[in-house]
C-alpha cells in the first residue's frame, strides 16, 4: 500500500533557539511510527525519546511547530517527507 511504504520515508526535524540547545541537535531525520499522525502525537512520541527531549518539551505551551515552513496546530496531519520545525515563541528582530 502506498501509505505503508510512505511511512518508511523519514521526516526532517529542525530545532531552534533553546529547543536546539536543550535537545543538543539542530536537525535530524526520523522515521515516524505509524501512530504518529499529527503534531500532537509527534510531540507526545518525542517526549519518550529520552531525557533531553522530555526536558526540552516539558512545557508544551511554549513549543511552536511549523510544518513545511508554515505554522501548524496540534491537529495538523504529518506526512512522510515533511519538514517539521520546533521552536520557542519568536522574539522578533
Amino acid at each position: 500500500m502506498e501509505t505503508a511504504n510512505a511511512v518508511q520515508k523519514p521526516i526532517k526535524l529542525l530545532y531552534f533557539a533553546w529547543l536546539r540547545s536543550r535537545i543538543g541537535l539542530a536537525e535530524e531525520e526520523v522515521v515516524l511510527p505509524a501512530e504518529v499522525r499529527d503534531v500532537a502525537s509527534l510531540i507526545a512520541w518525542m517526549k519518550g525519546r529520552g531525557p533531553a527531549y522530555a526536558k526540552a518539551l516539558e512545557n508544551e505551551a511554549v513549543v511552536k511547530v511549523a510544518v513545511n515552513q508554515e505554522f501548524a496546530r496540534a491537529d495538523h496531519p504529518l506526512r512522510p517527507g515533511d519538514e517539521i520545525a520546533l521552536f520557542p515563541p519568536v522574539t522578533g528582530g
Binding site: 505554522f71 519568536v90 522578533g92 528582530g93
Partner: protein, 160 residues
C-alpha cells in the same frame, strides 16, 4: 519589493537611493532602522545573536510585505533583516516604504516594523557579563503588533 535576510551589514543611504531611483511619482520614504542596544532589562549586553529559520523567515517576511502592499498604496518597499552575532550599535533591521503620499508610507513602515520586532521568526540570544540567555517573548510587543489586527494563531497565519 524586496526582502533580504542576511548576515552582512547594509548601507542605509544606498538602499534608500536605490528604492526611489527612477520613480519621480514617489513623494516620501518612511524608514525605520533598528540597532542593537547596549542594555536589555537593566543589564548591559555584550552581544546579541539572532537565529532564524532559513526559508521560513524569508517566506514570512515576504508575506507581511505583501500584506502591507495590499493595505497601503506603496511604490516601493524594502525589508532587510540581519542574523548572526551583533554588538551594541550594530544595525539589525531596516524597513523602508515609499509612496506618493506620506501617510501611506508612514503607516506601512510602522506596521512592518511592529510586526518584525515582535513576530518575525527570529530568536535572540543575549550575552551579558553574567553569561548568555535566550530572550523571552515580550507581552508589550504583542500589544503593539495586535493593533494592526494581523491574524493570530491561524495555521496559515503570520504568527504562531
Amino acid at each position: 519589493m524586496t526582502v533580504r535576510v542576511q548576515r552582512e551589514d547594509f548601507d542605509v543611504g544606498a538602499e534608500l537611493e536605490g528604492l526611489t531611483r527612477g520613480n519621480t511619482g514617489i513623494g516620501g520614504v518612511a524608514s525605520f532602522l533598528g540597532l542593537v542596544r547596549d542594555m536589555a532589562g537593566g543589564e548591559p549586553i555584550r552581544s546579541m545573536t539572532l537565529e532564524h529559520y532559513p526559508g521560513m523567515t524569508e517566506r514570512q517576511l515576504a508575506a507581511i510585505e505583501a500584506e502591507a502592499r495590499q493595505r497601503w498604496p506603496l511604490d516601493a518597499c524594502l525589508i532587510i533583516h540581519r542574523y548572526g552575532r551583533l554588538e551594541p550599535g550594530d544595525r539589525i533591521v531596516f524597513v523602508a516604504t515609499a509612496s506618493a503620499h506620506r501617510a501611506a508610507a508612514l503607516e506601512a513602515c510602522e506596521f512592518l516594523i511592529d510586526w518584525l520586532k515582535t513576530r518575525a521568526p527570529f530568536w535572540k540570544f543575549e550575552e551579558t557579563p553574567q553569561g548568555g540567555r535566550w530572550v523571552e517573548a515580550r507581552e508589550e510587543d504583542d500589544v503593539a503588533a495586535a493593533r494592526w489586527g494581523t491574524r493570530d494563531g491561524e495555521p496559515d497565519g503570520l504568527d504562531p
